[in-house]
């Protein structure tokens, strides 16, 4: 049973974190030097008048924090006639604003890309968890043997390998056999047909491997040390003495206890399912959230960045909340403390 007050405390904490993120998110981009209109429209073709129109359109003519002019005029409701006020009121209505660069609603841009990122990161993490846990368990069981040494060596090497570097190496190796960029061959088939999804699958191979290799080694290393620790416990010795098979010992006695640290790292990694793997998506031109963030930084597209950061923050906070709850289910000692 999960205790209600424990749950309430955790949810409350998540809400507070989220509100801080919402405010921080707004100011993060406002403290950068320069005027977004100047930058985006530093274009000889735009007259001063047009620049002014654009500034009004995006609400950039208003004061950033509070409208002190209207406050001085005794108009209390007018205090929030500011960029911050508009941001909060839009946010409450679920409106993330309009992209400077794409002239499109940020909600629409993000929702188009979220699915693609989830597909990529989820596939990658799925294989990473499977491989990482299996190899980690074997390495711990065969601790000190050549199999353990090999797993450690390969694990540490791939873990230390920068993701983009691995991606580029794979790109060069697979040149001519597998597609190097994008999610689908342009104009090949209509979305939703079998041919379309098979082609998406082909495009998924390289980014998935890149993503999985990096994550799998992290899972492997943690799984290995975690299982090794459990295997040193007395109850494992008891289980061995009872004559249980290796599979029984690992599955029924070691695994559940070794899972706690794994849950933390899996949950943290899964929170990036929405945020996107910026490096992998950029190397393979995968049109997801990660690449959107990368492009938007280059274009200084603040509304998109704000929206993407908020999405990322929400997913991290949610993942943490779920971890906390899972923890208390897996280990009853935690909710007591």
């Amino acid at each position: 049973m999960i205790r209600f007050d424990y749950l309430l405390k955790k949810v409350l904490f998540a809400i507070i974190t989220l509100s801080i993120v919402v405010v921080f998110n707004f100011f993060l981009f406002r403290i950068l030097p320069g005027d977004p209109v100047k930058l985006l429209f530093r274009n000889p073709r735009l007259t001063k008048q047009v620049q002014e129109t654009i500034r009004v359109q995006f609400g950039l003519d208003k004061p950033v924090w509070i409208n002190s002019e209207r406050l001085q005029a005794g108009d209390l409701a007018g205090i929030f006639d500011s960029q911050f006020g508009a941001y909060i009121s839009n946010l409450v209505q679920g409106n993330l604003g309009v992209s400077f660069a794409q002239r499109n609603s940020v909600n629409k841009i993000l929702s188009e890309r979220v699915g693609r990122t989830v597909l990529l990161v989820f596939t990658g993490e799925f294989f990473a968890i499977l491989i990482g846990m299996a190899v980690g368990m074997v390495a711990a069981w065969r601790r000190g043997t050549w199999a353990d040494a090999a797993a450690l060596l390969i694990g540490l090497t791939t873990w230390a390998l920068p993701t983009f570097f691995l991606g580029i190496i794979l790109l060069v190796l697979a040149r001519g056999f597998l597609p190097t960029s994008g999610m689908v061959e342009p104009g090949l088939a209509k979305e939703g047909t079998l041919t379309y999804w098979l082609d998406v699958g082909r495009h998924l191979i390289l980014p998935t491997i890149t993503l999985a290799v990096g994550s799998a080694s992290a899972y492997m290393l943690i799984m290995r040390s975690s299982v090794a620790e459990v295997l040193a416990e007395d109850y494992i010795l008891t289980a061995k003495a009872k004559g249980l098979t290796t599979v029984q010992i690992l599955r029924d006695h070691a695994l559940k206890n070794a899972m706690l640290p794994m849950i933390t790292i899996i949950a943290l990694n899964l929170s990036y399912v929405v945020g996107g793997a910026i490096q992998v998506e950029t190397v393979f031109s995968w049109p997801g959230i990660g690449r959107l963030v990368f492009d938007s930084v280059a274009k200084q597209d603040y509304p998109v960045l704000q929206g993407a950061f908020l999405l990322l923050a929400v997913s991290v906070i949610l993942a943490n909340l779920i971890t906390d709850i899972l923890y208390s289910v897996l280990d009853p000692r935690i909710k007591a403390s």
Binding site: L32, P33, G34, D35, K38, L39, R42, N43, P44, R45, L46, T47, K48, V50, T53, I54, Q102, R103, N104, I168, L171, V172, R175, G176, P179, T180, S181, G182, M183, V184, P186, G187, E281, T282, V283, F284, S285, P287, R291, L292, F294, D295, A298, Q300
Partner: protein
């Protein structure tokens, strides 16, 4: 002549388009129609444009950028309606291709326009793919996944790999682009007073190894810079302005003579107030080669006793600095229109105000007069003369030190396509496809 959907495209539609842009004050395009009052179609092939004053660059600076649009699609929309309009199915034009599919950040598909007035283009379908990664782009061309990388997209870092492949041809040509070093010498700014001394600016100019910039940063695809107007603009480029020599000895001699001595022997000269000659030398972080350029400049300056640590900042913060004249030296890369008008206006007094383009702070009413003259000169010869004079002034006063004229470079698979280089300026993408023919 018809649009891609078969409806007529004549002077009537051209006149309608110009008037419609004027009426709705379409942002960006409207500035190309300054001084235009209205357009009338006399008959199907005669267009009459009424101006408020004589304009000498009607085609190169104005009509080239004004779209002729099918009235039956556009007349339903207001200026605001266009802002939020996103139905790509009505991409109707009179060009050789029409867009049939578009996925933002992914690809765009163009189909040959059967009704194109010069005849059906030689290539049926063009797929534009967007790569987020330069290495992937190069690998895709090497493996044959793609056939062509258009100008402006080819990374300098990949050129060596492409040059080594016998199936790939690199094509290059002059382009409307250049890079310069802006010098801040307005008294209102934060730059050291020594930059206001023409001798110092000349010495800096002589200390720049332009050949090395071309080789190292632009992989050899460029010309050393000297005049304000790039050679791609033909007769407007002042050929009398000689190459700026890379001459450390002369630069040192000039500074010595002007009294900038290194009196404390630390390798850095002191200015007239006894302060060390140290400048902030900056570029933006958009490309890796930008940094190489300012490194080369910094090395040259070190040899003439000037300390300038290369610094990289975001474009955003550099623009903020420029607007406030809070910088010493900034390297910028430019892509400009085919007409020289805009470049000549950069150094006018008006552009020093309200975050205008004049980042050096140079201001001279005589110069402003010349700019006005070139804009209204009745003949091309007279306009060229004015523009040559303008370039002489810029070369002597040095608000900008012209570094290089980069070439537009594209690369294609020559085992699949033949290219007839009738269009040397590869930036004209639509015309470019006319030069291609499939092999076999």
């Amino acid at each position: 002549m018809t649009f891609s959907d078969g409806t007529p495209c004549t002077a009537v539609e051209a006149a309608w388009s110009i008037n419609w842009i004027l009426e709705n004050e379409l942002p960006a395009i409207i500035t190309y129609l300054s001084n235009v009052i209205k357009a009338d179609a006399i008959d199907a092939t005669t267009l009459q444009i009424t101006l408020s004053q004589p304009v000498n660059n009607m085609i190169s600076a104005k009509l080239l950028y004004v779209y002729i649009m099918p009235p039956h699609v556009w007349q339903e929309l207001s200026a605001e309606g266009i802002m939020s309009y996103d139905d790509p199915s009505v991409t109707i034009g009179a060009g050789p291709y029409r867009m049939t599919e578009y996925q933002p950040d992914e690809y765009m598909i163009l189909q040959a326009n059967e009704n194109y007035w010069r005849g059906r283009p030689p290539i049926d379908q063009i797929i534009y793919r967007q790569f987020a990664n330069d290495d992937a782009l190069i690998q895709a061309l090497l493996s044959g996944e793609i056939d062509l990388v258009t100008a402006g997209s080819l990374p300098y870092s990949g050129i060596a790999a492409l040059e080594a492949d016998p199936n790939i041809k690199i094509d290059s040509g002059q382009a409307y682009q250049f890079s310069e070093l802006s010098v801040n010498w307005t008294p209102d700014g934060t730059a050291p007073a020594s930059l206001r001394d023409p001798v110092v600016r000349k010495a800096i100019d002589l200390s720049i190894d332009r050949e090395q910039i071309i080789t190292v940063a632009y992989a050899g695809y460029g010309q050393v810079g000297n005049a304000l107007i790039p050679p791609a603009m033909g007769g407007f480029h002042n050929t009398d302005i000689g190459e700026i020599p890379y001459d450390i000895t002369e630069a040192n001699r000039l500074l010595d003579e002007a009294g900038y001595k290194d009196s404390n022997g630390d390798g850095i000269r002191e200015d007239k107030d006894g302060n060390p000659m140290e400048y902030r030398l900056m570029t933006d972080d958009t490309t890796a080669y930008n940094f190489r350029i300012i490194q080369i400049i910094s090395d040259g300056l070190a040899q003439i006793g000037i300390s300038a640590q290369p610094l990289v900042e975001s474009t955003d913060s550099l623009i903020a600095r420029q607007v406030d004249f809070d910088y010493d030296l900034i390297h910028w890369e430019w892509y400009v229109d085919a007409d020289p008008h805009f470049l000549t206006t950069v150094f006018t007094c008006a552009e020093t105000q309200d975050g205008g383009w004049n980042d050096s702070g140079y201001c001279d009413p005589e110069y402003d007069k010349l700019v006005e003259e070139q804009a209204t000169a009745p003949t091309l010869e007279e306009r060229e003369q004015d523009i040559w004079k303008i370039q002489e002034i810029v070369a002597t006063e040095r608000p900008w030190l012209m570094l290089a004229y980069e070439e537009a470079i594209s690369a294609y698979r020559k085992d699949r396509y033949e290219f007839d280089p009738r269009n040397p300026i590869a930036t004209l993408k639509w015309a470019l496809f006319y030069g291609f023919k499939k092999i076999g």
